[in-house]
């Protein structure tokens, strides 16, 4: 029996209040995106209305927006492929306690994850200008490894720790190579954890602003920057801006609903282990 700090009714009151506070701002923007221009900011607010979709159409066809959306999808995909290709073998090795320098490498990962963006953005900016990676999707996916790779290694290592070592020992005795052990035993067993890691990586890269702001201009602009662009217009089109915000929120909200349990597990594991 855990202690009861609140009666059951109180718990539900807190839960419902928290849910309303969390959800209302998003709901409100969704409503503005679906309202006629005249209703959007009416005081008192218009609560019931016939939804119109023209703001979404306008946001999507705004110059560069759909291209930026595609760029973000590509950055998330490439960034994740890189992080897993490089991170899974490293995580396997760092999961084994006898690996020399294990602790130092883990601390190094943590430091890399915690560096402030503008410390590394200027040198990378200069380098990218020189070698032609400035304003490219690949360049962005590469520089995102500064936080994606440590996070992936850290988390995958924690998921690998739950794989029974006896399985690997048995496979080893039957002559399996390290690569086979990783791909045939560890990866399948830890698959839900890997999926959670990929989703958390995607959320971070999808939402990233500071680095994208400095390292892209036009061709590789991400969807976050495209949304930011709506602030800059002389007369702000609030309907289109609200619609653009909803478009950028939707894919990640979809992930949150789809994989809530795994995301929660991934986040907790990353902090507890």
């Amino acid at each position: 029996m855990k202690p009861k700090f609140l009666p059951q009714f109180g718990r539900y009151a807190v839960a419902v209040t928290a849910a309303v506070v969390s959800f209302f701002p998003i709901l409100w923007i969704a409503m503005i995106a679906l309202k006629e221009r005249t209703d959007a900011f009416a005081i008192p607010p218009v609560w019931f209305f016939n939804p119109v979709w023209e703001h979404f159409a306008k946001a999507w066809t705004t110059s560069g927006f759909s291209g930026a959306f595609l760029n973000s999808v590509l950055v998330c995909a490439i960034g994740n492929v890189l992080a897993f290709a490089i991170g899974i073998p490293a995580a396997y090795l760092l999961n084994q306690r006898r690996t020399p320098g294990r602790k130092a490498i883990l601390v190094w990962l943590l430091i890399s994850y915690m560096l402030p963006e503008f410390l590394f953005v200027i040198p990378v900016y200069v380098l990218y200008q020189a070698i032609g990676l400035y304003d490219t999707v690949i360049g962005l996916a590469l520089v995102y490894q500064i936080f994606t790779l440590p996070f992936t290694i850290w988390l995958v290592r924690a998921f690998f720790a739950d794989v029974p070592a006896a399985l690997a020992e048995a496979a080893r005795l039957e002559g399996a190579t390290t690569a086979q052990i990783i791909w045939k035993i560890y990866v399948p067993i830890a698959a839900p954890g890997l999926a959670a890691t990929a989703i958390l990586n995607a959320i971070k890269m999808w939402n990233e602003l500071a680095i994208a702001l400095a390292l892209t201009f036009d061709r590789a602009q991400t969807v976050t920057l495209a949304v930011a662009g709506f602030r800059g217009y002389a007369s702000i089109d609030w309907g289109a801006m609200a619609a653009a915000s909803i478009i950028v929120i939707l894919p990640m909200a979809f992930f949150a609903i789809l994989a809530q349990r795994h995301i929660v597990q991934g986040l907790s594991l990353g902090s507890v282990k």
């Binding site: 029996m1 855990k2 009861k4 700090f5 609140l6 059951q8 109180g10 718990r11 807190v14 839960a15 849910a19 969390s22 959800f23 701002p25 409100w28 923007i29 900011f41 005081i43 008192p44 607010p45 490089i86 490293a90 090795l93 760092l94 084994q96 490498i105 601390v107 190094w108 915690m114 402030p116 963006e117 503008f118 410390l119 590394f120 200027i122 040198p123 490894q145 500064i146 290694i153 999808w206 939402n207 602003l209 500071a210 702001l213 400095a214 976050t224 949304v227 930011a228 950028v248 929120i249 909200a253 949150a256 809530q260 349990r261 995301i263 929660v264 986040l267 902090s271 507890v272 282990k273």
Partner: protein, 288 residues
């Protein structure tokens, strides 16, 4: 021999290479840059510690560091306490817990820039729905993001809405993982809810709490998106923080040397905090 076969070190080579390229090159470059007056022109002169003196003495720069500290401290304290409170309250719920958790998770999925736009609309002094709600109970709402006294508290509030889910989720998982026996013993001895919390729950949660606090501290110190997206550092620099300052100094005024000095000083502060955290963590006894 056997041992060697078990640790194929080359598996680490790609990761260490990328990590080295991504950390050593930029860090060394930035440190060198911080001692120059480079402004994206052809020449770049060594100026000694001039930039560092500017960082430490210019009122504008000191103001940004101070604002960052104020923001991080308030946001971390509020988010940790709120997240812990929510975790304690909601963990006992049986029905609809999954749905509640999913809804609470939503703000965390939203990009900082979308968060900014959402709250700019909500907090608009004349057309915003927050001030409309306040007017219903007879309160004249302020221009939240537009006046010096309310701007920073508004940013803290926005961050609280955005990030409390993080502290809530982790503390809630940690609470679920606590063993039941100590609570049972406390109940048998007739401990009050507060005593149980103070002497059993809190000490057992301490390692996770430290982790949560350090993650939130680093994250809030590095705050950029929600300030860039709402106030841009205004009004009258009331919300200017280190990262917006470093960004503007480099990419608006092209004083790359000074910007690098700002980031170097800032990194040293963050690194110091991380090391302090690692010490705290190992003092706990079992370093995993």
């Amino acid at each position: 021999m056997q041992r060697k076969a078990f640790s194929p070190y080359w598996l680490l080579v790609p990761a260490l290479t990328v990590l080295a390229l991504n950390t050593f090159y930029p860090v060394i470059y930035s440190v060198c840059l911080a001692f120059t007056d480079w402004n994206w022109g052809k020449t770049s002169n060594f100026v000694g510690v001039k930039n560092f003196i500017s960082v430490l003495t210019k009122p504008q720069y000191r103001g940004a560091f101070l604002n960052t500290l104020v923001f991080a401290t308030s946001a971390v304290v509020i988010e940790t306490m709120l997240g812990l409170g929510l975790a304690l309250a909601i963990n006992g719920i049986t029905r609809g817990a999954g749905l509640i958790r999913t809804i609470l998770l939503l703000p965390l999925m939203v990009s900082g820039i979308a968060v900014s736009l959402v709250w700019k609309v909500l907090l608009d002094p004349t057309q915003g729905v927050i001030n409309y709600f306040l007017s219903l109970v007879g309160i004249q709402g302020p221009a939240w993001l537009g006046t010096v006294p309310t701007a920073m508290p508004s940013i803290v509030m926005i961050d609280t809405w955005w990030q409390t889910a993080f502290t809530f989720i982790i503390l809630s998982s940690a609470l679920k993982g606590l063993p039941a026996e100590p609570f049972e013993a406390a109940r048998l001895e007739g401990a009050s809810a507060w005593q149980t919390f103070r002497h059993i729950t809190l000490p057992m949660l301490k390692p996770v709490l430290i982790t949560v606090i350090i993650f939130r501290t680093v994250d809030t110190l590095k705050v950029f998106d929600i300030i860039f997206g709402t106030t841009g550092g205004g009004p009258m620099r009331a919300t200017e923080v280190v990262q917006t300052l470093a960004y503007q100094t480099a990419f608006k005024f092209h004083r790359f040397g000074e910007s690098a000095a700002i980031s170097v000083v800032f990194s040293v502060i963050i690194l110091g905090l991380c090391l302090a955290y690692l010490r705290l963590d190992t003092e706990e006894g079992d370093a995993s």
